[in-house]
Subunit: 504 residues, 2 copies
């Protein structure tokens, strides 16, 4: 009889390949596919999901898992083998409760909905996407019904994006975070005269933005031999193994941070995909699983590094030189203040670090209401706008800048949003650890040397792929579970500098 591990690995390798297929179908749809290809694409996506689901949930997978588990023979829980069994078993037990038809329907609806969103957003026409949202939430309710041991419906969804997370615990973290953020916003509210961000608005020719972004990404580790960057309506990152990493961005000729920080953000995701150990390639552990951890990487690079004082000192003279004119006198301190201006706004992905998480909290609340049927799709735009007024004090002028700004719900990604704010918290914890381990980190960053931090992240986070859950990984690196403290401390430190305050 063949080694049960070999058999399990072989089956899982084929499933990892199918995962790459699904990723490629999606990457292509978002970057390359002609629009009329959408209907056929949705069928293809659905078929791949059905085949993959059937192959995964089969009894044969169960038998292989059982045999492999019996074979573990005291292997350390941290070993690749034990992790493989642990992770696959958890996923298998969840996935096998879901009928194949439903898995295929979810995939098809997500593909179709994503395409409808692209048009609806362009035309700022909520009605164009509403039937697809109805369908996605209906399917998601059927999905939730597959599980009979939940504290709440939303737990099943959240767990798909942040394995092991519980709604009640996320709500507790968000309550704590929200009150801290509201206090910070209040603290800086009267001091908007301290920060001038006019240097970020102006005329920035896209070809020069490309030069700046390319240079910056290369410092981070972007390399054309195994990476590519393309344009997308809603930027994202994909990994097809550790040697084919693809990021996307968008360019705004009148506002520099869109491309600059958007690309840094996605490159942060890409580095995570690239950094997974060679031994985990073509296994179910070969792709990071927790989107909270994933987002911690993108937010850490975008904000803690990219909007940090040391790197601003490197970026400012380059920006001044490339674009001249009104920014010709820009210095590091000016850029540092500008890119850290706190101001409630409409668009999540362009929000400052303080208000950003409030965009998430309101989405987290709204999608629970939608899943539980307490809010109807037709009432969503109104609820959205009311929540923005209440939490951020802003008036939403149209749906494109409101409920249509994000692709997630149309693309079936329901339960995904909270991971963005969890990512901020985790980034706060990891950045604190990195600082402790690399005493000269600021000196490195101020010299534009980013590889020290990248290697630290690779060693402590990236290489493990999906071996450890977020809490397991944080326990190893930071000595405890997700916490609000470090992120808030980090914000206070920054705001004290930017707003000339003592936030202690």
């Amino acid at each position: 009889m063949a080694d049960p591990f070999e058999q399990l690995r072989e089956r899982m390798a084929a499933l990892a390949d199918l995962r790459n297929v699904s990723q490629l179908l999606d990457w292509d749809q978002q970057t390359m596919m002609p629009p009329r290809g959408a209907a056929a694409r949705a069928e293809t996506v659905s078929t791949v999901e059905r085949i993959s689901h059937d192959m995964f949930v089969s009894d044969q997978t169960g038998r292989l898992l059982e045999a492999a588990e019996a074979h573990l023979d005291g292997a350390s829980p941290d070993s690749d083998d034990a992790s493989l069994v642990r992770v696959v078993k958890r996923r298998w037990e969840k996935a096998r409760r879901v009928p194949s038809d439903l898995a295929a329907d979810l995939a098809r609806a997500a593909s179709v909905g994503q395409q409808a969103w692209t048009v609806a957003r362009r035309e700022s026409e909520f009605a164009g996407v509403a039937p697809y949202l109805e369908r996605n939430f209906e399917l998601v309710r059927r999905y939730v019904d597959c599980f009979d041991d939940l504290d709440c419906a939303y737990d099943a969804l959240l767990d798909d994006f942040e394995p092991g997370a519980r709604t009640v615990e996320v709500a507790r973290l968000f309550d704590e975070l929200k009150s801290e953020l509201i206090a910070l916003i209040a603290a800086v509210a009267g001091r908007s005269d301290r920060v001038d961000d006019s240097c970020l608005h102006g005329h920035f020719p896209v070809d020069r933005q490309r030069q700046l972004v390319t240079w910056l990404l290369e410092q981070m580790g972007f390399d054309r031999a195994s990476w590519r960057i393309d344009d997308a309506v809603h930027p994202f990152a994909s990994g097809f193994g550790n040697r084919d990493v693809r990021i996307t961005t968008r360019w705004d000729e009148h506002y520099l941070p869109t491309s600059l920080y958007g690309a840094m953000h996605e490159c942060g995701h890409g580095l995570y995909e690239e950094g997974v150990a060679e031994a985990l390639q073509r296994t179910p552990l070969g792709h990071p699983e927790s989107l909270g951890l994933h987002e911690s990487q993108s937010r850490l690079w975008e904000n803690m590094v990219g909007r940090g004082r040391p790197l601003c000192g490197v970026l400012a003279p380059r920006i001044a030189e490339l674009f001249g004119g009104p920014v010709s006198g820009l210095d590091g301190e000016g850029l540092y203040r500008a890119v850290n201006r706190v101001a409630p706004s409409l668009i999540r992905v362009e929000a400052d670090e303080v208000t950003y998480s409030l965009h998430i909290v309101l989405r987290f609340e709204l999608e629970q209401e939608l899943v539980e049927g307490r809010l109807a799709i037709r009432d969503l735009p109104e609820a959205w706008n009311a929540r923005y007024k209440e939490y951020l004090g802003v008036d939403v002028p149209d749906d494109a800048q409101g409920v249509l700004q994000d692709v997630h719900w149309a693309a079936g990604l329901i339960g995904y949003f909270p991971t963005y704010a969890l990512g901020n918290l985790i980034a706060g914890q990891l950045f604190r650890c990195a600082r402790a381990d690399l005493p000269d980190l600021d000196v490195q960053l101020a010299a534009g040397r980013l590889h020290g931090l990248r290697e630290w992240l690779r060693e402590h986070v990236h290489q493990h792929g999906a071996k450890f859950s977020t809490s397991e990984l944080l326990q190893r690196v930071a000595g405890g579970p997700i916490a609000v403290g470090p992120f808030v401390e980090y914000l206070k430190g920054k705001l004290s500098q930017v707003y000339d305050l003592d936030l202690g």
Copy 2:
């Protein structure tokens, strides 16, 4: 019990989706994938082939076929249902003789070989691709061994690209064609002073070439809603259903025909994919199967239309206006003569219409020798160069312009080449029929109106997808099998004009 046709269609629809996946994996590899992604991509390609092969050759497919066949109940052989059963049964009976492992190995080796070729060609280093050719031909011999009822080994390969074709019959056609072509080459050999093609060589900025090509493709039917065009080292066309058609081309700043006729050629392929009837989408009949027929479409557009006198009259003033300088005085007659100059040369895809088929004949001969083991891979470059000297009288300066010019063997496409010359013959037959049906065709083309011909091709060829074999289709349209006569007559007519000869 469910309708056996419905069950068969459902299974075949999933297989059609998997075919699209394989096509996308290949399209992406050739146009987008970062080079270091190749190893993972080869595994993915192999896994998809294995799953698809297993699903297709299963006994369940056989049972569905049998039930569907019993259900046909006197349906016309031309009906979609009868064609589905006929075509799927033929493919199933062939595919089930091939073990799944071998199918997967062939797919993996093709993907790996294709990538190796890209590097080897760039560096003109045959040794870089030789081990991959060894592997591909070894696998192909194992593939041939799966069939015990062949007249010759090559039949099994040829049939994959041109279903129903037999090596002996193709050899007979090629013998006839070769002697006709050699006579034509001899007839014009002393008259090279009649044709000046210097207008095609010069400086043609790529952005203006793009303008010219875009305009021309749009006249043919290219539409960004369902098409895209990209760059590729070795241009090709792909179809993912009739609403997602992708072509590729390459640009030579110093030689205009590369992009102009290359793009027309691929667009001809694309129109075939786009033209398949809606009712055949997501069935095994939804993609043209005969590569001879496919090539007839590309060659017809590239040569009979694109290098025809009427359209040259439209193209010449546009070229003159766009590029000016040495071509500012170009007229239709001058362009017509230039693009039809007969001159033995090194590169197949840039050969004139007369010598082109000789490039094919020698490949057809060499690959039979390689399959049968009469020629060793290590001796291939020498054999290639000797054959070029013998058939075309040219000296091959390096492997990049010799045996490495085509990707096919490295990409596992063995038995494919003859379909190019068969395509020329079929194009000759179809163009003759179109002329008879559309008496004002020249007037239309001379006015730049290409849709009349496109619609004729759609009605007589494209819409049928893979319903009919080449001989069935030619019987319907031209009243007989593949023949050399019409193509040679067409060439004689053209050469008589271009070289001021009477070739009767």
